[in-house]
């Protein structure tokens, strides 16, 4: 069972993502509402995955992903947004993250597909 941390300022999305991922066999071990608390939570909880919203109120998701990569063994970061990939262009091509999934397509299988095993 993979553990996951959800970092998003929208409580409705966090609740729904928690439901969807739990259904797909993920253990949601924490939630954070912004980049700073997300980094703290990740260090404290050491999740396997972090579901990270790009449009956070304090720090952009790309930046948070970079911080997570610097401190300790990096979790697999999955970026998400209610905008689709076209809004971010090449910034999604590579970085300190596993990949990008638009919010409506978040699911356990989508995340596992990014890792490369079902």
């Amino acid at each position: 069972m993979s553990t996951i941390l959800i970092v998003d300022d929208d409580p409705r999305f966090r609740a729904q993502a928690r439901d969807v991922l739990a259904m797909d066999g993920f253990v949601v071990i924490g939630e954070a509402v912004d980049g700073a608390s997300g980094v703290e939570a990740a260090q404290a909880l050491q999740p396997d995955f972090v579901l990270l919203d790009i449009g956070l109120p304090d720090i952009e998701g790309f930046e948070v992903a970079r911080s997570l990569a610097v401190n300790g063994p990096p979790p697999w970061v999955v970026l998400t947004s209610s905008r689709d990939a076209r809004a971010y262009g090449r910034r999604l091509a590579n970085g300190d993250f596993l990949g990008f999934i638009p919010k409506e397509r978040i699911s356990g299988s989508a995340i596992r597909a990014l890792v490369g095993h079902p």
Binding site: F13, Q16, G55, R83, R86, A87, Y88, P102, E104
Partner: protein, 602 residues
């Protein structure tokens, strides 16, 4: 006597008066010469004496005809006539004529003094001057009359000699000489003081008057010396020559003032080139022949006059050696020319200069107004475009924060419901849930397309290059993108993006092209954009509002766009956008300082 100068008389009357005076002067002069020839040999002195009269009358009449508002002409004519009467009448062998002539013989000196002191207006301006003329009149009229009562001339023709007394006559004569010499000294001092107080051009104008002062000195010296038996003939001759020259000198001064008007043409030319305040002042000073001239500008905001540098300026008061010619518009002062008061003697000249400058001021004011309005229009157009861009961003954000989030939420919720149902429940409900989830995804996709069209977030987040790459990915034809990573101002990036996006939209819609190229070059001061395709060409830039809208948008940034689209030869759209925004156009320097206040309010 000066009542003949009244303007009540018609110009024709004056013309006749002048003709009569010229004839009289001619006759009197000839009379002097004829008498001279009859009595003695023709004496050069007599010729000089006749020339003095002719010179005064000729020049006086000429000035009188040209400058009717100036008493100088008539005054000079009177000096000449009285001079000649005083010279000729005593020559007539008739007691009445001889006596009247003797009485008149020195009266010219009083008119001469009046003429010198009233130069250049022909009017006395101070009580001192009046008093000096009074001294001359006192000596030449009542004292002369008193002297005639006692005087015994050699020819015995004195009709007034009721108490002939050589000694009494001699005493009176001595008093006369002393007083008139005293008056002469006062006159020379008065003229000298006036000369010292004057500025350059006025000093030059006063040259003939100074010559007059010298004759007065010579005359005074002669009057003092003669009773002592000292007669200096060269002194007398010199005085006569000076007296001939004086009217000619005055005439030249007056003519030069008229010629100065040709300087108006130069002034108008200079003003037409919107000179700097310094050059304007020089041009005015040249046209008016007054190096001391200054220009003051009315500053409505400060409610006072200022100089070209904006420093407050005080205008000279009335009665000083400087005068002010005001330039007004609708009763409100705009500028003031501060010049030598002597220039008021040629009202035509100063009026011409003032109206030339008034035109220039008006022209400049209109130019500044149009310039200010143009700048305002440009600024407001830029603000409108900027406001439009901000509004697009706001709408995109609102879509993202609102409908987009809700559709995301709806999609996830439907998926949760569908998963919860699993294989259980009514198959129709399961299908319905699947369709609802697909609909939600489709709605979300359309909404994202809409948001992207309204404002591409990637443009502001990642710049033109990424935005164009993203745009190219979404275009159905194959687009090769050659755009650097440079960032520009949001306005420039926005305009460039919309040019390229509109061009690529046209490629897709009309060009029937297989591939297109987008090239953006970053030059030192501008960015050039080129979008070309291998389509059918023949695009008409006049058709459709898309390109017109792009041209308008680029114009805000002083950018340009052009389309080359030969039939069958593909289409190339080229645009240039300056990346260094031009500084605000300079307001013409001439009246910028003081007048900009109210033009900006207008």
């Amino acid at each position: 006597m000066l009542s003949i100068l009244s303007t009540r008389h018609s110009p024709a009357t004056f013309t006749w008066i002048r003709v009569l005076l010229v004839i009289t002067a001619g006759a009197l002069g000839l009379g002097m010469l004829v008498e001279n020839v009859q009595h003695r040999q023709l004496d050069p002195v007599a010729v000089l004496e006749a020339l003095v009269g002719w010179s005064f009358v000729a020049c006086g009449v000429f000035i009188w005809a040209r400058r009717r508002d100036n008493r100088l002409g008539p005054l000079m004519t009177i000096v000449g006539i009285v001079w000649m009467l005083g010279q000729t009448m005593p020559l007539v062998a008739d007691p009445i004529m001889f006596t009247a002539g003797s009485w008149l013989s020195d009266l010219w000196a009083a008119w001469f003094a009046l003429f010198l002191l009233s130069f250049p207006s022909g009017r006395l301006t101070s009580r001192t001057d009046l008093a000096i003329v009074g001294v001359y009149v006192f000596v030449t009229v009542p004292l002369e009359f008193l002297w005639l009562l006692f005087w015994v001339p050699g020819n015995g023709l004195n009709a007034l000699a009721i108490a002939p007394d050589v000694n009494a006559a001699h005493v009176i004569d001595t008093v006369q000489r002393a007083v008139i010499a005293f008056g002469g000294v006062l006159l020379v001092i008065a003229l000298g003081r006036r000369w010292l107080r004057s500025s350059g051009p006025v000093r030059r104008q006063m040259a003939p008057v100074l010559a007059g002062a010298i004759t007065i000195l010579l005359q005074s010296a002669a009057w003092i010396l003669v009773p002592f038996g000292i007669a200096i003939d060269p002194l007398h001759d010199l005085m006569l020559v000076a007296q001939i020259a004086i009217p000619i000198g005055v005439l030249i001064v007056i003519l030069r003032a008229r010629m100065a008007r040709s300087g108006i043409a130069d002034l108008v030319v200079e003003l037409g080139q919107t000179p700097t305040p310094a050059r304007l002042r020089d041009a005015l000073a040249n046209a008016l022949g007054d190096p001391s001239l200054q220009v003051a500008y009315w500053a409505p905001s400060q409610d006072r006059f200022v100089d070209a540098a904006g420093e407050p300026m005080l205008l000279p008061e009335d009665g000083t050696s400087q005068a002010v010619t005001m330039l007004e518009r609708g009763g409100v002062p705009e500028a003031a020319i501060i010049h030598d008061a002597i220039l008021l003697e040629d009202p035509g000249l100063i009026a011409s200069v003032a109206s030339a400058m008034r035109l220039a001021v008006e022209n400049d004011r209109l130019t500044s107004e149009v310039e200010a309005q143009l700048q305002e229009v440009r600024a407001s157009r830029a603000r409108i475009v900027e406001a439009g861009d901000l509004e697009r961003r706001r709408v995109e954000r609102d879509l993202h924060d609102g409908a987009q989030q809700r559709l995301v939420s709806l999609s996830l919720e439907l998926r949760v419901a569908r998963n919860a149902l699993g294989d259980r429940g009514d198959p129709a409900v399961r299908r319905s849930l699947d369709r609802a989830a697909d609909e939600a995804l489709a709605a979300l996709s359309e909404l994202r397309d809409l948001a992207l069209g309204i404002h591409p977030l990637i443009l502001t987040e990642s710049g033109l290059g990424e935005a164009i790459e993203s745009l190219a990915d979404r275009t159905s034809v194959d687009v090769s993108v050659d755009v650097g990573p440079e960032r520009y101002s949001p306005a420039v990036e926005g305009a460039a993006y919309f040019v390229i996006s509109e061009a690529l939209a046209n490629v897709t819609k009309y060009a029937k092209a297989t591939k297109a190229t987008v090239r953006v070059r970053d030059l030192a001061d501008r960015v050039t954009i080129e979008v070309s395709d291998d389509g059918i060409g023949g695009a008409d830039p006049q058709v459709g509002s898309g390109l017109r809208g792009l041209a308008d948008r680029l114009a805000v940034l002083d950018g340009t766009i052009s389309v080359v689209s030969p039939v069958g030869g593909g289409t190339t759209i080229s645009a240039q956008i300056p990346t260094v925004q031009p500084t605000t156009p300079s307001v013409p320097a001439l009246y910028a300082v003081p007048i900009s206040d109210d033009t900006m309010e207008a």
